[in-house]
Amino acid sequence: MIEPLNCSQFEERLSDFEEGALAPELAAAMRAHAQACGACAALRQAVRETATWLAELPELELPPALIPAVLARTTGRRELVSWRATLRSLGGIFWQPRVVMGFGMAVFALAVLLNAAGVNLRQLRWRDLTPRQLALSAERGMHRGWARGAKYYNDLKVVYEIQAALQAVQRNQPAPPAAAPNHRNRNQDPNAVFGYAREFASAAPASFSGRAAARPRANFAIESDLS
């Protein structure tokens, strides 16, 4: 007859008990202690769960570069890898959520940019991809963007109000000041707005400025008002 076990003795024999390696009498004493002691019963349950989780831990795949690296440093022989295996290993690297998400975002950003540049992929032809065509379409896109920007600027309510106020001031004050507008005191100088308009026009690319001069636009009426 085996004496009742205490908690330390229970712990010492727990793995053997769970693996069925104890003599029947000792196993019966372990069972009796687990029934009498709640803490040891909980410990037994936790150890069982841990053993289950350990058994479920997956075996890791070997990194594809490991064996070739070892071979290169030992026998100096390079392992022959088939192109299928290479593709498969590359697929393993790229087929990850963050890489797929990044690729999706890049495609989305490219689509937005192409859309903003007015490129329609369905109507794209090979001859559109020649350097001359690409340069021309880039220039067209730049002009279009510039014209949109200028139109947006001129359509701003605040700009329109300032223009109207200045025109009223000009009507009441027939002799304009001779000095050029001081950039530091723009806020005080009513002509400063024209300074902005001049800078805005002069900031345009040279090719566009030439075209703008050749083709007077309503958007730059503010300039003609100055003269």
Partner: protein
């Protein structure tokens, strides 16, 4: 040629003899493979690598818990194995056990070399007076989230990996070799070069410590009864 020592009632060799014979044949094959390798046969070394590299890598990863460390250590272990192939003796144990033993020695060396780093890291990262930082967070019970089985499993694996890192190296290597590498007590004793009784004791203590790390409420119960029994 090995011949079975005894025959069963039908005139066939007994199962135990077959097992013994196959073990002897395996030993002879392994020694032959190593001899070829020592003679400069690159294909033999490649065969050894393909056969054992995955096991080496898994042992390194489970011991260190870091992919980068596991890759570096696996490579270092493989080089050490290659340089020490002449010391392999098939009659002293299997090639797999010998390889794991060398890998384990390397892991212990690595652990000792970086012990100070880890100590300073943990001191830097531990908030003042935060005793909880020593333990991984307690796992929620499986019943609370039945609809998230995949997430639950992933969380368990992460917590288990963290808990393994918190075991002492002696307990950790014993649990890994037994519960993850499926070695028997005799093989583990050969790898660790300690008696089987010590192996059993370390595995038992390692499992209990892991269970307590994953279920911190068990610690309180253990402390409560500590003085009494």
């Amino acid at each position: 040629m090995l011949r079975p020592a005894s025959l069963d009632g039908n005139g066939r060799p007994a199962l135990a003899d077959w097992t013994e014979a196959s073990r002897e044949a395996l030993k002879a094959d392994e020694q032959h493979l190593v001899d070829r390798c020592l003679a400069g046969d690159a294909a033999a070394w490649e065969a050894i690598l393909h056969q054992h590299a995955r096991r080496i890598y898994n042992l390194c990863y489970r011991f260190t818990g870091r992919v980068e460390d596991a890759q570096d250590l696996s490579q270092e272990a493989s080089l050490r194995i290659y340089r020490n192939l002449a010391s392999f003796r098939a009659n002293e144990g299997s090639l797999g056990t010998w390889i794991l033993s060398l890998t384990r020695n390397l892991l212990i060396d690595h652990y000792r070399r970086h012990k100070y780093d880890r100590l300073t890291d943990s001191l830097d990262s531990a908030p003042a007076g935060a005793d909880q930082s020593e333990r991984p967070p307690e796992l929620a019970s499986r019943e609370t989230r039945p609809q998230e089985a995949g997430l639950w499993r992933r969380e368990v694996r992460e917590q288990l990996g963290l808990a393994l890192q918190r075991l002492s190296p002696e307990l950790r290597e014993a649990v890994i070799l037994r519960d993850l590498q499926d070695l028997d007590y005799k093989e583990i004793a050969a790898v660790l070069r300690v008696p089987e009784g010590t192996v059993k004791s370390r595995i038992n203590r390692g499992r209990i410590e892991l269970a307590r790390l994953l279920r911190p409420n068990l610690r309180g119960q253990a402390a409560e009864r500590g003085g009494g029994q």
